[in-house]
């Protein structure tokens, strides 16, 4: 293994980690694309520093980058403050114009011959392989400072991102804290330029942070995860880039980060697409089951004149009356739901002659009773308290009944004490003469 590779690897990991950590705050502070501007605006600074010093020393180049990057940010402020141009356009103007000047200087240097000092154009797409031991020391020191600052000012940054006004009320110097965060973002971007390049630096701040957000609702965990994702991407990018001679590191690191983002988007426990789909299917299943149970119950009520005496529900009724006639839409899916309920012992299905008869088991009755009661409670609430007409409340109750928490049910019961009949089920407020679907 190339001994230099270890330097490159540690450099990339450090850069990924620190920009990931600070990126979490950049995204939450709604400064996502500021990193993009900073990176692009840094290019002319790098070129100017090179023209002035005549050598490719990392430190002066970084100073130059920081200076023009900062100038770019100030330009955005000035444009939005002094003209009617909106922030997004101002970002675009500064980004492209500074970059254009940078490209102009860069090509001028190259054409003048001095630029065969190659390396300058590695700032465009990053080349971690060009890092040497001395560079990594600079990076290590700066990255440690960054991470330390994030740890020290965690509480203040949290306030800044969440509720700046409240922080001011508490007497925190929010302006200075905002400036500090800004300075840290500048630092992270400038450091990252070597490995990732100006064009894609934005991704190092944004992508790990957005990915981390999918896994947690807590800021501290998010910052840690974001740093971890950034570090992992840096590692993956450096390793893959070492495999081929011509592969720029920047795009590889960004692709690694994008991979982590895609995994998060799909697989994160609560917010991921899989979890969301499962939740959605679960909800749909629950709704379908509860609706069917309620329909069985209400069919009983019809057959027995709606007195709602619980024991009547145990008598059987024709399945077709619950799931619809053979040609009706939705019959097949309702049949499957009925079969699932039967398997679980909530519904009894018996073939009598040519027709299937279904009836609620005692457990099924309990479950149905629960749903029907929630439905009727909600209907009562809508008619008595929200002044809705009786013929409008069924559909609303249909939606809501499945999601009323025990707490809400208890509140409904208290509120409607005068209208309902305690633990018994009372007749519906509207006629039940037709199937809902």
């Amino acid at each position: 293994m190339d001994p230099n590779f270890l330097w490159v690897l540690s450099g990339s990991v450090l850069l990924g980690t620190s920009s990931g950590a600070i990126g979490a705050f950049a995204v939450l502070r709604k400064r996502s694309l500021l990193g993009d501007v900073l990176a692009h605006a840094a290019l002319p600074g790098v070129c100017l520093a090179f023209m002035l010093t005549g050598a490719k020393e990392l430190f002066p180049l970084l100073v130059g980058a920081a200076l023009t990057g900062y100038l770019g940010v100030k330009c955005i402020d000035a444009i939005t403050r002094w003209s009617r141009i909106k922030e997004d356009t101002a970002l675009g103007i500064v980004l492209t114009v500074f970059f254009g000047i940078g490209v102009m200087l860069l090509t001028a240097i190259q054409h003048s011959g001095a630029g065969n000092q190659a390396g300058l154009d590695t700032f465009l797409f990053g080349q971690a392989a060009s890092l040497v031991g001395r560079d990594v020391v600079v990076i290590a020191v700066a990255a440690t400072m960054l991470l330390l600052a994030v740890a020290l000012f965690f509480k203040e940054f949290k306030l800044l991102c969440f509720d700046r006004g409240f922080g001011e009320g508490l007497g925190f110097p929010m302006r200075q804290i905002d400036n500090l965060l800004m300075a840290l973002i500048v630092m992270a971007v400038i450091l990252g330029l070597q490995a990732v390049g100006v064009v894609l630096m934005a991704a190092m701040l944004i992508t790990p942070a957005v990915a981390a957000r999918y896994w947690t609702e807590r800021l501290d965990v998010m910052v840690l995860l974001s740093a971890l994702f950034g570090g992992l991407s840096g590692m993956a990018g450096a390793v893959v880039s070492a495999l081929g001679p011509r592969l720029p590191t920047g795009p590889l690191i960004v692709l690694a980060a994008t991979g982590i983002f895609l995994i998060s988007l799909v697989a994160a426990p609560r917010r991921g697409l899989v979890a969301k789909t499962l939740r959605y299917l679960g909800t749909r299943r629950k709704v379908a089951r509860e609706n069917l149970l309620r329909d069985v119950y209400e069919q009983h009520e019809l057959s027995f004149d709606g007195t709602g005496v619980a024991s009547d529900a145990l008598q059987g009724i024709e399945l077709d009356r619950v799931i619809g006639e053979s040609s009706s839409p939705g019959r097949r899916s309702r049949l499957r739901v009925a079969q699932a309920l039967a398997k679980e012992g909530l519904l009894r299905l018996e073939l009598t002659g040519e027709t299937w008869i279904c009836s609620l088991t005692p457990r099924g009755l309990q479950a149905a009773w629960d749903v029907v009661r929630r439905h009727r409670l909600w209907e009562l609430y809508l008619t008595h308290k929200a002044d809705l007409k009786a013929d409008h409340v069924d559909r609303d109750a249909d939606d809501i009944e499945h999601f009323l928490t025990p707490d809400l049910v208890a509140r409904l019961e208290r509120l409607l004490e005068e209208h309902h009949q305690g633990p018994r089920i009372w007749p519906s407020v509207h006629p039940l003469d037709e199937l809902r679907r």
Binding site: T89, I93, T96, V103, M104, L200
Partner: protein, 299 residues
Amino acid sequence: MDSYDLAIIVTGALVAGSCGFIGSFLILRGMALLGDAISHSVLLGIVLAFLITGDTSIVPMFVGALIFGLLTAVMVQALNRGGVEGDAATGVTFTAFFALGVVLLTAFAGRVHLDLDHVLYGEIAYVPWDLLYLGDVAIGPKALWTMGIVFLIDLLVVGAFSKEFKICSFDPGMAASLGINVALFHYLMTALVSLTTVAAFESVGAILAVAMLIVPGATAYLLTDSLGRMLGLSVAVGSLSAAGGYLLATWLDSSISGAMAATAGALFLLAFLFSPTHGVISRALARRRVGHRGESMLQ
């Protein structure tokens, strides 16, 4: 100045003019950064089109770019709906597409008639030699024709639906209440941006196409209060940037597209300071005059 210079300047003016024209709407709709994102994303479409068809013909390139331009807009919106804040969604999407484009470009460098420099700076300097032939007769630079046709399409589409684009930009709520399909016009605009960007891409590269999308329009926005004049001015400012940029580049022996962006920036700065109605300095002077008059009235 010979025909070589002229071909470059005219092509550059057409690029900047069409970008500025379409870009004006992006600015007014608050979609400037979507333009930025699209012009990065189209790279992937172009590279994929090359890799699949194996040649540099123009139609697959446009199709590829159009697909990824629209895909960018759709993905940003989808992520946004999923709870990712707008700027972050934009950043995640375009960097991913662009990174993949660059990696494919380098990995298959031998097979693709494109390289990183081309992606960044374009090849406007070679425009005069890449001629379009009608039978055996050369009828002028290919890029000039492509760009000219795209500009014509932009003009025709925007001209035909000018009042729809106008009201969708100014007051989407009212537009919808009149029965105008606001989403349709949003995506139509996205398609025009992709089309224009990919045509410009060849000449000025990915990142500087964005400069031409945003900067001339913003300059024009500071110079006038009428949409029609803003569109005309953005074309004029764009063309001026192209011509000025070319001269600057020849003088400094530097990248032409970089110099065009820098010139556009300089023109913007001029408008920002000295625009008769919206310039910082002109307004300050006007305030001082009013102030003096106020004082003399008091005396």
